[in-house]
């Protein structure tokens, strides 16, 4: 394990510093060219640079390339390719309005490097009860995992700083879980995710200077899903991401079809006169995590963000606890 420490420290430093240094020039470039979107939760028409995906993918690529120089493993190549493809899917969606099926189908394609490079073990491990070997079905699990993690991280990107803070917590919880399970190589290649998200959070937190966009959210989500598969921690990864999964579940079970947020006719959240967020009372408005958080009364954007972060920490704790249980039972 000691031979992993120096590459790990270098990769984490590269991940953090690449995003930390690349994001301000990206913000300047996007603002100069008018590639901005309004922040609908701020008074007046505040325009925010988007997408931040290029700086996020730079951090992922640079840090994982460092690790590849040390270890030359197929797992790192698969992680790089899947994150890169997920970023591209998001970037296309950032640049032009695509159909509602584009993202799910293209994200399924982003899982292909993991399958082609054989960077997986077709075993699904469940806490306490053992594991099942599913050589044929596991291909579907890989596709499903990238699809779910990519889309759920994208769907939680609704308020300043939420997607990046959730990924900081989920990413580090997944890394800690992999260390507990003594899967040190997977833990090592997972560490840059938390540092990339942490560096991006510096500019994404309220008041945001940049939004990740689909490219940033899908790059983070794609990388998270790839780590889950490569590290054989699919169930633990799902537990750490429960608030985002809950949000997607609430949304899909209320609209009952695949739909883009821009296609929603009745917004789930409105604003009070002092720009606090309040839950919609319209029956046809989709149910989302934020709408349920606001059921008790209006809250500021920061208060809602803090509530989601507390839920992410709670789920991250559950994931680490589950890894501990698995380590004891194995």
């Amino acid at each position: 394990m000691t031979e992993l420490i120096i590459p790990g420290i270098i990769a984490c430093a590269v991940a953090f510093l690449a995003v930390y240094a690349a994001t301000p020039p990206l913000i300047g470039y996007l603002q100069k060219r008018g590639i901005t979107v309004p922040d609908v939760n701020k008074p007046g028409k505040v325009m925010i640079a988007r997408p931040g995906g290029p700086s996020i993918i730079l951090g992922i690529m640079a840090s994982e390339a460092v690790l590849y120089l040390f270890f030359q493993s197929n797992e790192i190549l698969a992680l790089l390719a899947t994150s890169g493809l997920a970023f591209l899917v998001g970037y296309i969606d950032d640049a032009r309005i695509m159909g509602r099926w584009f993202k799910p189908l293209a994200l399924a394609g982003a899982a292909s490097p993991i399958l082609l490079l054989g960077a997986y073990d077709p075993v699904l491990a469940f806490p306490m009860f053992g594991q099942i070997e599913i050589p044929v079905l596991y291909g579907g699990v890989v596709i499903f995992m990238i699809l779910i993690t990519g889309n759920t991280v994208n769907s939680i990107d609704v308020l300043n700083g939420v997607a990046s803070s959730v990924m900081v917590v989920a990413g580090f919880a997944l890394s800690a879980s992999l260390f507990i399970l003594q899967n040190y190589e997977a833990a090592l290649i997972s560490l840059p995710l938390g540092f990339v998200a942490l560096a991006f959070y510096k500019y994404h937190r309220a008041p945001s200077r940049i939004f990740p966009g689909d490219s940033g959210a899908l790059a983070l989500g794609g990388m998270y899903g790839a780590i889950a598969v490569i590290g054989q921690a699919e169930v633990i990864a799902a537990i750490a991401l429960l608030p985002a999964i809950l949000n997607s579940f609430l949304f899909l079970s209320s609209v009952k079809r695949i739909i883009e947020h821009r296609q929603i006719r009745h917004k789930p959240v409105h604003h009070t006169q002092d720009m606090k967020l309040r839950a919609s009372t319209e029956r046809d408005a989709p149910v989302t995590l934020i709408r349920i958080i606001l059921a008790g009364g209006p809250l500021s954007e920061s208060q809602v963000g803090a509530a989601i972060l507390r839920m992410a920490i709670f789920s991250g704790g559950l994931a680490i606890l589950t890894a501990g249980i698995m380590a004891v039972f194995s």
């Binding site: 699904l124 469940f126 806490p127 306490m128 009860f129 053992g130 594991q131 099942i132 599913i134 044929v136 079905l137 579907g140 169930v235 799902a238 537990i239 429960l242 608030p243 999964i245 809950l246 579940f249 609430l250 079970s253 839950a279 009372t281 029956r283 149910v287 995590l289 709408r291 349920i292 958080i293 059921a295 008790g296 509530a307 839920m311 709670f314 789920s315 559950l318």
Partner: protein
């Protein structure tokens, strides 16, 4: 807000329970002999069970959601 944590814990418990069921059921689905056809039938049976488990999980979770968030959902 407390209900959201209750719901997260229910989701967590259902993941553990789903895992237990999957391990039990999948362990019993094994090819009764040798041969490609038996292998294929086994994989199809496992796929059917996996899909049924996921559908059942989502259905059960929907029921729990409606029960817990009835007031918030305007029910």
């Amino acid at each position: 807000m407390k209900l959201l944590y209750v719901f997260l814990l229910i989701m967590y418990a259902m993941i553990l329970l789903g895992g237990a069921i999957a391990v039990m059921v999948f362990g019993r689905i094994a090819p009764p002999g040798h041969g490609d056809l038996l292998e294929i039938i086994t994989h199809v049976a496992r796929a059917a069970v996996a899909i049924s488990l996921i559908v059942g999980w989502v259905y059960a979770l929907s029921k729990v959601k409606n029960l817990l968030f009835k007031r918030q959902l305007g029910g």
